[in-house]
Symmetry: C2
DNA sequence: CTGAAAGGTTGAGTTACTGAAGCAATCGTG
DNA sequence: CACGATTGCTTCAGTAACTCAACCTTTCAG
């Protein structure tokens, strides 16, 4: 949309494609791992966010870049199942602070640790390479939004 | 689900987390790029698959690991907008071969090339590092399913 | 030829999502 | 201090994606 850098070098293009595959695989595994705990992907994402502590709906919506009304529904369903609670912020009673319950946090942590991804494609790399990869990813993400 | 490797070393865990962030960013950009062409993410994925040539619905469903009935709907909407066609396979008339039209292919190629991702997080790496990253990703994906 | 299996579609039901409208609490300014 | 604008969240359509079960149609096996 903004500055149009016409050529896009071949390496970048290939990395983008590889990344797309990786994203596909990762995504599928994430959904499966969530489903195994009868969570949807969206619910799991919200729960993961809440591992950092209670936060206003607004903040959740911004972080996941979606409409607040969307979060209302997701939190509704999480709340109905006892994974999160909604409490009015005493500081500003317009704000609802969403917090993960013990069960919610546990499910999220468990999910995170169950990600097979860690063992499948990643297993193809030896420890040294994994560190290399980590460093590259760190640098790439240093500038980006600090999300999920 | 299968063999439980208890400890999961710290580097792997961190890589998984970084990857999760990356996946989030990439995913968001993909959706946006698709939306900019008034496609949904799912539609864009199917269209991307069809760049390789016509294929039966069954095959699409398997590749995207979802129910065939799901694909019916997505292809319906793509067809309604002239991005794909459905034709009976002369070899086996149960099979419907879905093929991207010129418009469909064009949209898909354009979308692929518009992925900003190439310039945002990736721009933080210098050419040498990008090659390093490419090689690592290649190795990781060598064993995996050859998807989208 | 007949019954089982495979490819797709249909229909019901859930979730995720958007956008507009609405309500309540808060803030800014005269 | 009061009043209008703004902010945070919910509610209400409306659409897309998805699952599952039931259902045709074509193919295949015996």
């Amino acid at each position: 949309m903004e500055t149009q850098q016409p050529p896009t070098d071949p390496v970048t293009l290939e990395v983008t494609d590889l990344m797309a595959n990786l994203v596909g695989i990762f995504h599928r595994e994430y959904e499966e791992a969530a489903a195994a705990r009868s969570l949807t992907g969206a619910q799991a994402k919200v729960l993961a966010l809440l591992r950092r502590g209670p936060m206003p709906m607004r903040h959740i919506a911004q972080t996941l870049s979606c409409e607040p009304s969307n979060i209302t529904g997701i939190v509704d369903r999480l709340e109905a199942r006892g994974f999160v609670t909604r409490e009015a912020d005493p500081q500003d009673r317009r704000v609802k602070l969403v917090a993960a319950t013990g069960t919610g946090t546990a499910a999220s942590v468990e999910l995170r640790e169950s990600l097979h991804f860690a063992r499948e494609p990643l297993a193809a790399l030896d420890p040294e390479e994994r560190i290399q990869l980590r460093d590259l990813l760190r640098r790439m993400l240093a500038g980006a939004v600090p999300p999920a």
